[in-house]
Structure formats: C-alpha cells, structure tokens
C-alpha cells in the first residue's frame, strides 16, 4: 500500500474550512495519480493503490463534512462505490495469488522450491499480494493438498479468475461513466465553493 502523500507545510491557525479544502485537493491529486492504470486490468498493485487513495479522499471529505458544501456527500457516495468495486477486485487478486502459490508450491521438489524462492524474491521487493506469513502458513510441507484437493483448488482458481474479470469490468464501466461526468472537475468545483 502506497504511503499517503505528505500534506506539507500548513498554517495550523488557519480556518478549518480552508485547510479541509487544501488537504482534499492533495488527496484528489493523489487519487488521480493512479488513474493512469485504470485501463490496465492486471496492474493489481496499482489498482489497489488507486483504491486506497480513493478511500483517503473519501475519509478526508467525511471528516471535514461540516465545513464542506452539502454536495460533498454525493461525492463521498460515488467514492464509496468506487472503493467497494476496487475492494472486490483486490479480494479476487489476493485469492488468485494465494491459489497460484498453493498450486505452484505444493508439489515437492522443484516447483515447491520455486514457489518459495518466488515469495522470497517478491518479499524483498515488497511486491507481495499475499502477506508472507500467510504464504508460509499455507505452504506448510506437513499439510500439502491431496490430488482431489488440488483438483478443487484448480477449479476454484479458474472460477475466481472469471469472477475477477467481471469485477474489473464493473469497475471499469463505472470509471468510464465517471470520466464522462467529469468527476474530477465536479470535485474541484465542490471544493471551490463555500
């Protein structure tokens, strides 16, 4: 998860209404920095970061709700929907990554070693979709799946990949609609109002 963009210098004695707008604009830019990946369905990390950035913007609008125009609530609703769609996508990505690791790592010998090496490499790069502790727990050599269990896992993986495609499609359609509505401008306009 990408760290939140620093707010930078603030006049702490400035009116809360002004600061709220300043912070919201930073969070808005942060969110739009990730939107270049919207059309790339398999940039899973980046789409996850977009989700986190949308969430940060949403929380900012919510925490300063009292000093923002009423319309901020409609924007919060839209952001919540976006965040939910990306959340479901992320859930699928995590499960798919986990299943791939299970299926790649449960055979003894080379494949197992490869899976562990892959995890170690990704861990060093901090690119893991699944927490290393969870991987270690799942890839317990004392609890490998039987052939029948592997069959079920294979099917589960295929099914989840299909679900993931649908989820991405839902999100993507929603995003295109937001683009058509000029959602970014709508937010900027709301922040310009008092």
């Amino acid at each position: 998860m990408a760290k939140a963009k620093a707010i930078g210098k603030l006049d702490c004695q400035a009116p809360t209404g002004e600061i709220a707008r300043l912070i919201a604009r930073i969070r808005l830019e942060e969110m739009y920095d990730w939107t270049q990946y919207v059309g790339s369905p398999y940039y899973t990390k980046e789409l996850h970061n977009l989700r986190i950035a949308a969430k940060r913007l949403r929380y900012t609008l919510e925490m300063f709700e009292e000093v923002l125009p009423e319309h901020s609530k409609d924007i919060v609703e839209e952001l919540t929907q976006l965040q939910d769609e990306l959340g479901l996508l992320h859930d699928s990505d995590v499960l798919i990554a986990l299943l791939r690791l299970c299926l790649g790592g449960q055979e003894s010998g080379t494949a197992y070693q490869k899976a562990l090496a892959h995890v170690e490499k990704q861990k060093r790069k901090k690119k893991l979709m699944v927490p290393p502790e969870l991987v270690a727990s799942i890839l317990d050599p004392a609890n490998t799946p039987s052939a029948e269990e592997r069959y079920g896992l294979e099917h589960l993986l295929m099914q989840e990949q299909h679900i993931r495609e649908e989820r991405y499609h839902t999100f993507h359609e929603h995003w295109r609609w937001l683009q058509k509505q000029d959602f970014r401008r709508e937010i900027v306009h709301m922040l310009d109002q008092f």
């Binding site: 939140a4 620093a6 707010i7 930078g8 210098k9 603030l10 006049d11 702490c12 004695q13 400035a14 009116p15 809360t16 209404g17 002004e18 600061i19 912070i23 969430k55 940060r56 929380y59 900012t60 919510e62 925490m63 709700e65 009292e66 000093v67 859930d91 995590v94 499960l95 986990l98 299943l99 299970c102 927490p131 502790e133 969870l134 727990s137 799942i138 317990d140 609890n143 799946p145 039987s146 029948e148 269990e149 592997r150 069959y151 079920g152 896992l153 294979e154 099917h155 589960l156 099914q159 008092f194």
Partner: protein
Amino acid sequence: MPIDQSPVRGAIDIGSNTIHIVVAHSTPDDLDILDDEVDLVRIGESVTTTGGISDQKRDETFAVLQRYKTLAEQLGAANILVVATEAIRKATNSSTFLEQMQQETGLTVHLISGDVEALLTFLGATYETVKEANPDAPLAVMDLGGGSTELITAHGPHITWLTSIPIGSGWLHDRYMPSDPPHAEELVAARTFLQGYFQEMQVQQEVSTLIATGGSANSLLFLAQHADFLDASVHHLTIDALKQCESLLTSTPAAAIAERYGQPLERTRILPAGCLVIQEMMARFQLTEIQVSPHGIREGVLLAYARYGEQWLERLQEEARNMCLDKPEAGESIPLQHDETSDNSAYNKPFARSGQMMLHERLHKLLDWRDEVLKQEDSEAVHKMRVASRRFRAILDACEPCCDARRFQKVYREIKQMADLLGAARDTDVMLQKLQEQHEEVPLEEQAGVAWLIDRLETYRKEKQRALEKYFGNLDKETLKRRVESCLPKGAQNDG
C-alpha cells in the same frame, strides 16, 4: 406537597413541524397534566425552502402562541416557558423572529441547542418510567423527528450517553422511499442503509427498555391500535405490530390511510420511513417491543423548571456541556464543535483546535472496539476496528504538519502496527467467508479443495487472533491517549 397543590405551569415547544403546549401541576419528579394541545404549523417547510421563516409561518406561529398563552392563563399557569428547536436554529432570520414573538406575545422564546433538546426530551419521556419498580434499569430514549433522531441511554434517571443521528423519518422518506406507497426495492435500499448505519453506531451500553417519542412513534402506535394490530389499551409497540403497520403502509396510498384513520396526510406519507427506523433501532438493541411515550420536550421543560427554578436553562446547558466532553457520535460525521450551531464558526475554527478534537474523538472510537475484538462475539468487530483505525490514520495524516514530528512518528508507528494486525485478521476473514459460502455451492468433487484451503486459513486466522490478543493485552490505552494528545503542541492549539 400533593401534586395537585403544586404550581401550575405551561410549556410550549416550537418544533420543525408542530407547536405543542402542555399545562400541568409540576414537581421536580412528577406532572399532573391539565391540558395538552398540538398545532401543525410546519415552520421547517419554510426554512427548508427559503432558509428563513416566512411571514405566513410567523403569523401562524404568533396566532398559536397567543391562543396557547390564553389557555395556560385560564388554567392558572404561573409561568409559561417557551423553547424553540431545529427549524428556528437553522433559520436565517431566527433573531428577528424571536424578538417579534417576544414583542407580540410577551413570551420569551428560548432557542435551545440540540444537546439541551435531547436532555429535555429524556426528562419528559422517562419521568413516568423511572417511577416504576426498577428505576435504575438500563434504558434508552429515541426521539424520532423528521430530520434527525436523538438517542439517549441511561441507567434510570442518570444519562450515560447521548447522540444525534442525522436520520429522521422525513429524511429517510425523501432520500430512499419517496414513492407512495413505497416500492419494494425502495424498502430494501432503505433497510440496507439503516442496517449498515446502525451497525456502525457504537452504543455505549445495551438496554432492556427503549422508549420512543415523537410524532412518528405516536402515530404508529395510533395506527396499530386503530387497525387492530394492538389492543387499544397498550402503550407499547411490538415488532409484530410494526411489521403489520409496515405491510399496511407499503401496500396502501398515504391518502387512503390518512382518510381511513383520520391522520394528517403529511404525517402519514412519512410513516413507512418512521416504521423502518424504529424497527431497525429495535434490531440494533435486540428488542422485540418498545414503549411509546406521548411526552417529550415540553414535559421536560416543566420538570427542569420545577427542579432548578429560573436557572433551569443554564443548568441544563452546563449538564449538556459536561456530557459532550465524552460524547461519542454515531455514523460517520464528526461534529467539529458541540456548543455552537453556526456553520461559519465551524469553518473558521483554527485547524489545530479542530484537529485536536478530531484526534481525541476518533481515538476514543477506535479504542472502544478493543474489547469487542477480544471477545470475538461480533464477527464484524475486527472489520469495524480496522475501519476506525483507517479513519484515525486519515486524521493523523491531516494533522501531521501541526504535530511534533518525533511524537507523531511514535504514535503513527503504533497505530500502523495495530492496523496491520487488524488487517491481516480481517483479510483472512473475508477470504474465509467467501470460501465458506462457495463451499456449499461447488460440485462435490471440488469441495475437498475448498475445504482444505478453509482449514489452512482457519489455522492462520487463529494465529492472528492470538497476535491481536497479545497486542491488545499489552496496549495501555491511557498511555496511547496521552501520546496522541501530546502530538499537537499546546501552542499550536491556541486560537486566541
């Protein structure tokens, strides 16, 4: 002194929809009501449309107050106390309106805050209950209004918590179920919204008695009695009676119901929404019935005056201020201030001061979930605490430039550690929930694989629960609170 020899006083409340009067013999703990009247003036309608109180509404209010004043004097009232609430608070011309009312009627109209309103409602709605056998029983009062709901919990007469929820029957009707009668999908959406909202609401105590007051609750009781869903002598609404009311209200146009049962059409239109709010509040408290009280603010005013005399309002304001120091709020909105109502003052408040208040409130909200997570009774507790931690971090991020860097980093690291632990547990819960649902649905030959993964994830989840227990077992809440408080240096909070 026997109650019928105690002084007679009148109390009038000017609300968004109605103006009410009650005239009664009053003691500090009891009332003997001589007369009670209500007029539907709907000042709120004018305020919502134009921002101010129109001349027509002002004249109607004036006429009602004159009539009420005469009534109270005829019944021998030594004092007539008048309070005004939400609609007048919001009106752009409230000062002029209050002055005119005083000049034209000779009555002083006190504009009270939302918190004082909640205290008065509580006093009025419970004075009969607390006289009963178990006066210290945990109870709650919900005052369901058109635009908001006041919720107060207490042990007998001692209030433990109060909050104002920005959901009222009028609001829910306008936003989620405007059709007449409401469509099935509108009902589903409204119910889903309420369930989500009330689930997030962290009530400070469970209660065995819920007393509902306000126009919608009383109208629903009236409807249930007159439609034969309840015996006419009972003053409580059961969940079954409410479901029958819902069924009637959602299958019959409001005009037909209004005509059949002699109820105002405007009230009848918003009753389906009121019915849902009450049902979901009952579900939140796991109750199957509620008491309905016809009493509220005005009875509270009479009791408060009998207790504190001329200082009644100052005493209540002080009490409300003291309660607000620890008052958690429901839902997502964070009030930046408690004692003022002007949006401008919230806007202009120095950020360092608002930030301090938000940090304080959100930290409390976050830490309040600790025990629930450890108890493991509510499967959503981990999720809710994780969300609370994210919200708290969002405020930390916003406040960082005003904070002492070293202290801030320390707190930030600690909250991040907590959030990471909660995140690992929650993400596993999400996968488990999904797999458990799928396990039932996949063909038999694929079930073994799903079961294997569930088993592995459950083992991992137990490890995460142990880690959470260890972390929270060592967490000193008071130390963390002090650390957070000290992040914003005192100088940064000085707003002159």
